[in-house]
Structures are given as structure tokens and as C-alpha cells.
């Protein structure tokens, strides 16, 4: 039920919602990370263009967990602090591939449309 509602909300909010989820998946592609680490990663990678609000980050993580795209586990961080680490599941990995190629098609199409004529 919630999936359906998210889709409709996603429509309303444009790209933002779906985009955040893809970005999280991308952030977990190389290694497992905790929520703080993910927000730091997104900030750094985007050159501080994306400031991820924790109020959006946490629900997004919960949704990804529910869909089985990521899995969570409590572990100790390198500096000895306990944190909840998220990692990609195989389903999440294939979802990332799918979303990435969709995004690329979208960008290419946008570019073709927006490109100045001649």
C-alpha cells in the first residue's frame, strides 16, 4: 500500500524523492555505510550541491529497507563507535543499474530537447 502512495507522492514532488533513493543506492555501491556517512558522501560527491535533509534521508532509508534493496546491520565504525550500517542487496544492485541507465536516458533526452538548434 505504501509503495503505491509513494509513487503518487513521487509524481507530485517531481524528481526529488526518487532521486534521493537512487543517490543513496549509489552511495552504498562501493561499501556499506551509516546514515551520517551517506549524507557526508552525497554532500562531498555533489560538491555540496545536494544538502540532504535528515528528515528525508531516514524515511528514504526505511523505504529502501522495505523494498529489500538495502540491508542494515549494527557494526563498530573504524573509530570504535557503534553505528547502523547499510549495504546494497543484490536486488538493490540491479535496481541501481536500472535507475542509472534510466537517468542517463532521461538526461540525454533532456539534453537533446534543450540543446540550441543549429
Amino acid at each position: 500500500m505504501s509503495t503505491v502512495e509513494n509513487l503518487s507522492e513521487g509524481k507530485k514532488l517531481g524528481l526529488l524523492q526518487g532521486t534521493l533513493e537512487v543517490l543513496i543506492l549509489r552511495g552504498l555501491k562501493l561499501e556499506a555505510n551509516h546514515a551520517y556517512g551517506i549524507s557526508q558522501f552525497l554532500k562531498q560527491q555533489s560538491g555540496s550541491e545536494f544538502l540532504v535533509d535528515n528528515g528525508s534521508l531516514y524515511p528514504a532509508l526505511q523505504r529502501l529497507l522495505q523494498r529489500g534493496w538495502i540491508a542494515a546491520q549494527w557494526k563498530s565504525s573504524p573509530n570504535g563507535r557503534r553505528a547502523r550500517y547499510y549495504k546494497l542487496t543484490p536486488a538493490g544492485r540491479s535496481q541501481l543499474v536500472k535507475a542509472t541507465s534510466q537517468w542517463e536516458r532521461f538526461v540525454a533526452a533532456m539534453a537533446r530537447v534543450l540543446a540550441p538548434e543549429g
Binding site: S2, H34, Y36, Y58, P59
Partner: protein, 881 residues
Amino acid sequence: MRSMWSKIALLFGGRRRLADELDDEIDSHLEFLIERNLERGMSEEAAEAAARRELGNAALMRERSYESWQFRGFETLLQDIRYALRGFLRNPAFTVTAILTLALAIGATTAVFSVVDRILFRSLPYGDSDRLVSLGLVAPIEPQEFMLGGSYYVWQDNQRPFTALTSEIGAAPCDLTEDNPIRLNCARAESNFLPTLEVFPILGRNFSAEEDRPNGPKVALISYELWLSRFHMDQHVIGKLIHIDGHSTEVVGVLPKDFEMPRLQIADVLLPQALDTAAQRRADPGHPMWAFARLKPGVTIEQAKEELQPLFEYSLRLAPAPFRKEVHLEIRSLRDRQIHDARLAAWVLLGMVIAVLLTACANVASLLIARAASRERELAVRSALGASRMRLARQAFTEAIVLSFAGGVAGCLFGWLLLRLFLGIAPDGLPFLSKAQIDMRVLVFALAVTLACAIFFGMIPTMHRARGNVLAAHTRATLRNSAFRRYLVVVQIAVSMMLLVGGTLLARSFWNLQNQRLGMAVENIVTAEISLGQTSYPTAEKQMAFFQQFARNLRYGPGVSSVAISDSLPPGGYHHDQIFASLHVDGKPQSASGTGGTVTWRSVTPEYFQMLQIPIVQGEGFTEDELSSNNRFLVLSKSLAERIFPGESVLGKQLHLANGAPTENDPVYTVVGIAADVKNSGLASREEPEYYRLRRNRAQDWEHSSFVIVKTTLPPETIESWIRSQAAALDPTVPVETRTLAERVNRMADQPRFEMLLVEFFAGTGLVLAVIGLYGVVSYLVVQRTQEIGIRMAVGATRADILWLVLGSALRMIVPGTLIGLALAFALSRVLISLLFNVSPHDPATFACMSSILIFVALLAALMPAAAATRIDPNAALRVE
């Protein structure tokens, strides 16, 4: 799928854990931020404050995360149900009315379905019963197919369309002659009978072909009921010796609980028929028997009929000449054979109860519409506050489902009670009814009906809610609602018109049946049916001695004015009959064209006519002198006399009763009188020509079972027990069944009476529901139009004007409803023809009477709200709002 399971896990206590985990996670996040800030050289306090700022609103984070975990559908459903229940509790009058109406309708439908299910739909208790057929010959003398030993075995050897052909030779009373003897019914069948029907004994085995031979080993299968009542389900009953009619017989098997004979006779014991097949093949016509067969896969009944044609023609050549033109081959499914006359009654009953169900649903729908209209504002507000249309529709459906299921559960209970009631008032000997019960299958049916109601009700508010903005279109929506409700009332009135006409036709038919002229007097007559056991009374001499002694003992009893003995009693039930063509006047050749139909005959003592007040219209009837004569005497019924001797004098004529040349077996009878016609083949059928043989003081005129008829001046109850005590004094083992003749006649009307009662019940229910529906709608209209009525009164309308205004709106529903109902009743009553006795299905009196009654009752229902409308105070009405 996975997320669904995790949600279900959460629903049962997982939420606590989730919340704790999220809190921990947020704490750890905060610590990361603080640590980083400290690394940047902030003070501890500043680091924490900055971290909290950066983290954002932790409560919101929690809230939103929970939301994504919520089991939305289910929780909304629970919420909807809670909401529906609250709404129903707030409005108990509506709720109770709706649930009672539904319970009444679903209960009645369930009870009737449980009865007709076995007749119309349920498979018979045999393996693969759709391929079982009943086959044989039909003749005027026996319109249900039968076979004769002379042809049966030839058919069995040469038939091709069946995998197996089997037979039974009927069921008859038999005695279990042991200590504590009881009278049972013993059926006799061929050894391949059970295998052909695919019935398997639950204990022991079927009898073998070796045991199904004359003078073979005596073996028996017993019914489940007998096993239960007599042997207390003892597993060791197999191999036990029981005494049936004095013969020591070995029990070899127990029949399944649901076993029934294909012709539905009662059978406590199944015995091998043990016919001498070689003798039967030579015999003409052979032993009467009833044949059943299993069609080969893919063979239809028509094909089987075609393939059996040569065998049928073979049998026809064996038949006596007068029969040949009137004998036909019949093959039909076993179900058709079993229910030939119950099918129509079952469909009529089912049709009526469905009509009642529709009327009830219309009432509840009407209630729901009225309720929806009064809740329009509430719904509009909810809608304005952001409830989606989907959400409101779901709410409406939930309410419909909750309501229907409450009605369904109450209906199942009511149905169970109703079925008890049916069984209580039903006459004995309706084989299908006694087996009716509320089981899983019937409950599934009730559930389906309930669901259908729920979907119908759920759609009503959705239908009109879908049409635009509620707040703006307030008035128009209301008008549309009341238009729909008016249509519903028209339909209800039409349906109850049909039910009333059907019910009245059956009632009139029943009245005719009960009040027809029987041609005899039934008052002050007590009858005792006595059947002597074959072992104690093996010879006709002994049987005659018993009956004559018994009659002598009774004759001088208290209040007894006379005693007669007969082998059967009018107006129906078992009696002898023969074909007309066999009767022929001495010295004249018998006619060879056709059988001429059947003739009833009885063997009676001289007092019979005087006791039953059957007038002897010519001659003297039987006299005492003739009792000891060597000659034989006859009294003819008026119709028979006119047929054999048209316009001639009859007295003293010599008549042969049987076929063939005058021999020892075809003695000559002298006609000594003509008796008036008596109803003699059941209450509903035309009377047959009849003759009476004199039962003389000679053994050859007697048989083992007879009716002893006693005319008395005492109350029947006293004389009945006295007769039984007299019989017991003579022989305590002889079973005696006493009944007054009036009672016997009355019992013949039991089945039509029962059918009529059921139909009246449904017609009455339908009428009440329709009247309630009409009352509800008219009252609602009056409330709706209060303001309008106020204005009319203010500008000078009189009370009479207002009365007519309201009654007029009621008439606009009543008249079309009645007309539609009349038309439908006219078209449909034709199906009742075979259930009706001396009433035309288009009986004008019934149609006229019922439409007036319906209009009258409906107007009466409308009168109450109309009268209320005239009492409206214009001032008060105009000040509303």
C-alpha cells in the same frame, strides 16, 4: 511480498523494536556530528548545539519513518470497521431494521436452498451419478418406467450403450423375528446393483452372484440406521445371523450412511433378489422389476435410446396385443426419475424465496439511501477535509459488508430455525425434505448471497456520489435518491403482486382439493390397517380366519354399529388396478384395440357400501346370502357400467375380468349392482372406473393385508385404542395401524397443504416487506417536502388537498407496481398449472381480488404519513432553516 511480511511482523509487536532501533540510530548519528564538530575545535556545548541543528527535527524524522512502516491498508480497514460500527450503534433503529430484514431474507433463502439443493443441484449419493439412468417400459397402467423379467435378461445380455445394467425388484415389509421383533423394509436387488451405482459397503462386502440365486445362501446388507439402532455400530455384526421372516440370514455388509434406493424406497435391509434367471427368460411377462444403468462415457441418453430400440422392439413382440401401441421405451437420468414431481415445486419455492430476498434487499437499499442522504453533509465535510473519493467509497463498502455480514450471521441462525420449523410441520414421506440440513455447502451458499447483498448495498452510495460535488448539488442529489427509492418500491410492489397471486392460486386450489365431493362419507369411521406376517399366517385360510375372527370380535364392541373389511380404501393410496380391455362380457370376444386405460378394483365385504354411504343406484349390491355362494359377484361403478353396457340393463350380466379363454383362471362374475362413483385415484386426479369384487367366506378371496373398517358412535380415540387392544388379544405380534377415515383423507392433502403454507409464508413476507418499503419512502417524501407543504398550506391548500398530494405520490408507485406485477403474474402463473387443482392459472377472481387487496393495503401504509402531512403547522414548517 517481503515487505508485506515484515509489516505483518511489525503489526504484532515489532513496532516497539523499530522505534528503539531508530532512536539508537539517530543518537549515533548525533554523536558522529558532535565528534566531527569537536574535531573542528568547537567547545563541547557548541559542538552539541550545532550537531542538533544540523541533524534537524528528530521527532519529524521518527514520524515520517514510522509512516513508511505502517500497514496502511489493514489499519484503514480496522478504522473503517470501527467507524462503521460506531455509526450503526449511533442509529440503532436503522441498524436493527436493516439487520432483521436481511436476516429474514437470508434465513428464508438459506432454509429453502437447503431443501431444494438436494432436489435440484446436489449430486446423488452414488459414484459419478450423472451417468446413471433409469430405463424401462412405460404403459398406461404404470407411467413410471419398469421392466419385466421376460425381457430384462435379454436386454442385459445384448445392450451396448451401458457399462452395466442392473435391477431391483422393490422393497416390502419384512419382520426381524428375534426377541424384540420389529417390522422392517427389505429391498431386493441384483448382485451387480451396488457396483453399478458405485456404492461401497462401509463394512463387510456386497453379496456375490452365487448368493443371488434361488435357494442360495441367505445373506443381507443392513442400512447404517439399522446398524446404529439395532447393533449399536458393532463392528462384529458382519457374519452375525439375523432372522428375517423366519429365515436365518447372515449379515455380510453395512451400507453407507447416505445410501438410498434409486427409487427412494425406505430400505433397512438389502437382500439378493434371487430370481431364477433361466425361468424368468422363459416367463411371460416375468417378474416386474426396475432397471438402472450406467452410461458408457460419451454416450448420451438419446444415443442409448436409439441403440436400445431393437431390444425394445423384441420386448414389444412379447407384450399382449392391446398393449403394443401404448407401451413406450423410457430412458432418463436417475435424478429426473427421482424428482419428477418435486422439481416444479422446488423451482417455485426457490423462485419465491429469491423474490422475497430481492424485496428485502430493496428495503435495505432504500434505508441505506435515506441514511446516505441524511449523512450527505457529513460526507461533504469529510470530503472537503481531504478524504479521497476512493476512501469514502471504501468506507461505504465497509459499512455494507459489516451490515450484510451481521444480517448473514443472523440469517444463518434464522434459517436453521426455519428449517427446523419446515421439518416440524412437513408431512412424513417427503423423502427430500427429511434429508435437508444446514451444512457447509448451504453455508457457502448463504455466504455468497450475503456477499452479493454487500456488493449491491456498497454500490448504492458510490453510484450517486460519483456524480459531482456533493455540497453544491445537495438538492438534486436528494431528488435523484428519492427517484431511485421510488423505483425500488415499484419493483417491490410488482414482486409482491406476483407472490400474492401465486399464493392465492395455490390456496384456492387447496381449498378445492379439500372441499371436493368424495362420493362417500368419512365421518365416524375408524380404519385399521393390518398386515399379517408371512410366517405366522402362511395360507389364505389362516389369513381369512384371523380377519373374520377379528371382525366378529369388533362387531359387538361398545359403540360399534357395523364392521366391514376391504383390501384398500378410497380416495387414494394403494389399490388394485387392471386394464380396461381385459374386461369382457361372457360370450363376446374382447376388443383388441388398445388397453382402454386402467380400472380400479377392490375386494370388499357387503357392509362396505352402506358404511361409507356409497349409494347403490341400481340393484341390491352384495347380500349376506352371496357370502357363502360358489358363484362370484361384482358391483360396478356407474362410470364403468356405462362404459361396458352403454344404454343396456346391467343386472345379471356375466363378466370376465382377465384375459384369455374362459378357464379356471378366468372365472365368470355376475353383476349384482351399480354403485355411485367415488373419488378413487388420489385427491387431485380424475376418478377411474371401478368395480368391487365380493369378498366371500372363501379362502381364495383373502390376502395377508386388509383394512378393517369400523363405524362407531364413540369418539374415535377411544375406539382406536380399543381396536388395537382387540387385535393384540387375538395376536400380540400383529402390527395394527388405526386412523379415522377423515384423518386418512386429510393426510393425502398434507403435501399440497405444506406447499401452500410455504408459499403463503413467502407471499406474506413479501407483502409485509413491500408495505414497509412503501411506508418508509412516503414518510421520507413527506419529511423532504415539509417546507413545500407548509407553503401550500400557507397559500390556502386544505388538509384534503395535502392528503391527496401525498396519497397521489404514493399511488404513482402503487399503480405502476400493481400493473407490472399483474402482467408478470399473468405471464408466470402458467408454470403453476400442474400444481393447481380446479383453478385456472389466470383465474380472474384471484387477479382482481389480489390487486384490490394490494392497492388497499398499500394505500393504508401511505395513509399514516399522509395524515401526518396534514398536521404540519405551516408556521413551524416555514421557520425551519
